[in-house]
């Protein structure tokens, strides 16, 4: 069970934000092409930073609290999931605030 610690937190972040799609009609998953375009750049940039930082020794991730699946021999798969789930949660939050408050974000259709 201890090995599911990090994955469990990721699941909390995912399900803790995904319900907004239904309750607040964020329509983020429905606009999946736009979502994939938005997620693709951050995941690449931050995974590279992460791999470099682990290789350099800036930080380390406890192998006893992760699944043990490592990309490139050093990056726990949870880290890759993290850099997809967290930007997704932030976009859902942004659209959730717009859904409730109606404040413009600059991407509304031109009149």
């Amino acid at each position: 069970m201890e090995r599911l610690t990090y994955l469990g937190v990721l699941a909390f972040i995912f399900f803790g934000s995904a319900w907004l799609e239904i309750a607040l009609r964020t329509r983020v998953f429905r606009r999946w092409k736009r979502l994939l375009l938005a997620l693709s750049v951050p995941v690449v940039v931050f995974v590279i930073w992460d791999i470099w930082a682990i290789a350099t020794g800036h930080w380390a991730i406890d192998p006893d609290r992760t699944l043990g699946v490592q990309l490139f021999g050093l990056l726990p798969i949870e880290e890759l999931i993290f850099f997809l789930v967290v930007p997704l949660a932030s976009i859902l939050s942004l659209e959730a605030v717009r859904s409730v408050k109606g404040w413009p974000l600059g991407d509304e259709a031109p009149k």
Binding site: F12, I13, A23, T26, W59, I61, D62, S90, R98, G106
Partner: protein
């Protein structure tokens, strides 16, 4: 470079991207800051848990604070830590989320799935008017003929 320096560099770079390259200017929008406040609260909770459990450990030379030598949790607050996590994690979180949100808005501005817009919450009855100025409900309940099919 240390984690501290890279974190600051990332924040500055992403803010410049938002303001001058993508021209999304999210940092000037109230909606962005409210959404980021929600994200930051959950970062403190989730990342605080992971750092207090030593799932993440940091080199003393990389951060302002230092990693405790024993098995106990790092400082809850102080010595460069905020809710157990090094404050540098806040820099990384901010740049990660602002970059993703700015790209989301950028592609919307470019016309990639600009619609269907978000809202309204399910407890508001109808009338998809995303930027309705005031009032909790639209005056056109039961409007039909939208291109999307609601489920």
């Amino acid at each position: 470079m240390t984690y501290t320096q890279i974190g600051i560099l990332f924040v500055v770079t992403v803010v410049v991207l938002d303001l001058f390259v993508l021209r999304t200017r999210l940092v000037t929008r109230k909606g962005f800051w409210v959404a980021y406040a929600i994200v930051l609260f959950f970062q403190f909770v989730t990342n605080g848990l992971l750092t207090s459990l030593h799932v993440f450990t940091y080199a003393d030379t990389a951060i302002i604070g230092n990693q405790p030598a024993d098995d106990g949790p790092p400082p809850f607050f102080g010595q460069g830590r905020i809710f157990f996590q090094p404050f540098e994690d806040v820099l990384m979180g901010f740049s990660l989320c602002l970059l993703a949100m700015a790209l989301w808005v950028f592609w919307g501005r470019r016309g990639v799935q600009r619609t269907p817009m978000s809202g309204p919450p399910i407890w508001r009855r109808s009338g998809r008017v995303p930027t309705a100025p005031t009032g909790t409900d639209s005056a056109s309940p039961g409007r039909t003929g939208d291109s999307e099919s609601t489920t």
